[in-house]
């Protein structure tokens, strides 16, 4: 596992305490897991993505990520309807490890309340939280 200083946390996205990220793009919110989360989980071997059309309230489990010896839950950062999922993950779950904020995105949500996004953490706050956790 890496040191926190070796991990990347882009400034243009928001984070949750459960280590998901959310990025607003043209009215929809793209979600995934953070660099810290993928590093903790280790090599991802399978991603169970949500069904397109399903709706979730903020914080509900909407999918799972599996490594060889662990299962992590994906909790949705904002309430809304799933409008797209990353089908590339079926063939290449490793994208979650290699590009957690890019090709390793998991789903797109049409948010029911855009203001929820503002309650999520900035990269600075998230980094502070991680440092607090590891001390």
């Amino acid at each position: 596992m890496k040191e926190i200083s070796e991990l990347l946390f882009p400034d243009d996205i928001r984070y949750t305490k459960d280590h998901e990220w959310a990025r607003l793009e043209d009215g929809t919110v793209r979600i995934g897991i953070s660099d810290y989360a993928q590093d903790q989980l280790g090599d991802v071997v399978f991603v169970e993505v949500p069904e397109v059309g399903a709706t979730f309230n903020r914080g509900e489990e909407c999918g799972t990520l599996e490594s060889v010896k662990a299962v992590g839950s994906l909790y949705i950062p904002v309430s809304g309807e799933i409008v797209a999922v990353n089908n590339d993950l079926e063939e290449s779950p490793a994208l979650v490890n290699s590009a957690p904020y890019g090709g390793g995105w998991i789903a797109e949500v049409k948010p029911s309340d855009l203001s929820e996004l503002d309650t999520l953490m900035s990269s600075k706050d998230y980094l502070e939280m991680l440092k607090g956790m590891t001390q």
Partner: protein, 443 residues
């Protein structure tokens, strides 16, 4: 005691290191109120020779001996076990190892189980098989639970010609979780009557056993037609896998899960256990399967090796959300069955299956010739139902005095079948045995 190497000297020195005055002192963390006050009231210790005497005398009180002629199948089958198989499964590197969680020093078990999975999948006509479940009964229960996971439905249709004990186990597993079980009746030809199932809408699974409890080969194609293009999974079970050396396997008829008892393949009957729960399915369902799976991979030098895989389905990782609670399975029995299948080979398995069929048909013919009725017309493998005339019970009892057991009476399981007996003939019975039996039954 020969299993306890520590001498008094060792004990004294080790106690000092452990910081305890005596052996009792090691248990200081147990509150006084929790301590046992009485000694263990057990017989023994026996010497090995005393033990041999005691055990041999109890073993001789069993109806299993060279002279015994037992014509019972019904879920447990007498087949010859070659000396080589008994010898190999006694290799303690296989028998005294744990579950292969450390693959670098478990390649023997892992490769043997991988080969077992391959053989079972091929035998049953399926794509994947797991590393075993406890026995045929729990395998069927697990199959129905898996069908419920896949279909997200909680109603199952189960043939009443599935082994009555297996159905009883299914009820134990499914009822507390609120499942509905619909039993499909048997028809006059000795096969499941599917008439009740106009539609499989709302069902998680349709389960039939073939050969069924009466030994009859089910119309698997009909079940496959019913479940095709529906949410319902087709579950085919069995108690005599040797039948698939002769008859078509369930995979070819569209079964989603094939499961059953593998004891026939080199595993001693041992009064019913341990057995071997064989369990096979399709790749698309693999993440919903219960039990361990061994997969092929490579090591850091690029050499082929085997590991336990897809473990995130299992209880030690997913806990209450696991696909099953199973941990310890029937690993050594699985490896034994692979040793047995390897010894027979494809050619031998087909020939042995045919021999079972032919011998059982021979007895059927002799009994029919003696005037007994064979009530079910469907084809059978190595067991079949006979109807004996009133008063047969006394003959059945009398034969037992000569250590001959002429099948089992069916009335205990199917009250409408009084006077009906289920008889089994395997390769262990010679023509002379069969002629003698037919003669004894006639009187």
């Amino acid at each position: 005691m020969r299993y306890l190497p520590q001498t008094e000297e060792d004990i004294a020195e080790m106690l000092e290191v452990a910081g305890a005055a005596d052996l009792e002192g090691l248990f200081s963390s147990i509150p006084d109120a929790c301590r046992r006050r009485t000694d263990l009231n057990l017989p023994g210790p026996l010497t090995e020779w005393e033990l041999n005497d005691a055990m041999s005398s109890m073993a001789s009180a069993m109806g299993a001996c060279h002279e015994c002629k037992v014509y019972i199948g019904a879920g447990s089958y007498e087949h010859y076990i070659p000396a080589s198989v008994s010898y190999l499964l006694g290799r303690s590197e296989f028998s005294t190892s744990y579950t292969p969680y450390q693959p670098e020093i478990s390649q023997g078990t892992l490769q043997a189980v991988f080969e077992y999975q391959s053989f079972v999948a091929s035998l049953l006509g399926m794509e994947v098989a797991n590393a075993s479940l406890y026995d045929g009964a729990s395998a069927l229960a697990e199959a129905l639970l898996m069908a419920a996971r896949v279909s997200r439905l909680k109603k199952v249709a189960v043939s009443s010609l599935i082994h009555p004990f297996h159905r009883r186990v299914v009820r134990t597993y499914l009822e507390p979780a609120g499942f509905e079980i619909v039993e499909l009746p048997g028809g006059p030809d000795g096969r499941t009557d599917l008439g009740k199932l106009r539609s499989v809408e709302g069902f998680a699974a349709v389960a039939v056993q073939s050969p069924n409890f009466f030994g009859c080969i089910e119309d698997l194609a009909a079940v496959g037609n019913l479940t095709r293009d529906s949410h319902a999974l087709f579950v085919a079970s069995f108690t005599e896998p040797l039948a698939y050396g002769l008859y078509k396997s369930p995979g070819g008829f569209g079964a989603d899960i094939v499961c059953g008892e593998g004891q026939s393949f080199g595993i001693p009957q041992s009064y019913g256990g341990p057995g071997l729960g064989m369990f096979a399915s399709l790749k698309k369902h693999v993440r919903s399967m219960p039990g361990r799976l061994v997969g092929e991979t490579t090591d850091m030098d690029g050499r082929r090796g085997f590991v336990l895989t897809l473990a995130t389905r299992e209880q030690h990782i997913r806990r209450e959300k696991a696909t099953s609670n199973i941990c310890t399975n029937s690993g050594l029995c699985a490896v034994t069955s692979a040793m047995y299948m390897a010894s027979l080979g494809g050619t031998g398995l087909r020939e042995l299956a045919r021999l079972n069929y032919d011998k059982s048909e021979y007895l059927k013919k002799q009994l029919r010739g003696a005037g007994f009725a064979i009530p079910f017309a469907s084809p059978t493998f190595n067991e079949f139902v006979v109807r004996f005339p009133a008063g047969f019970e006394s003959t059945y009892e009398r034969l037992q005095e000569q250590r001959v057991v002429a099948g089992i009476p069916l009335a205990a399981y199917y009250p409408e079948l009084s006077g009906h007996y289920l008889l089994c003939v395997t390769e262990t019975k010679s023509k002379r045995d069969l002629d003698a039996l037919a003669g004894m039954l006639k009187v």
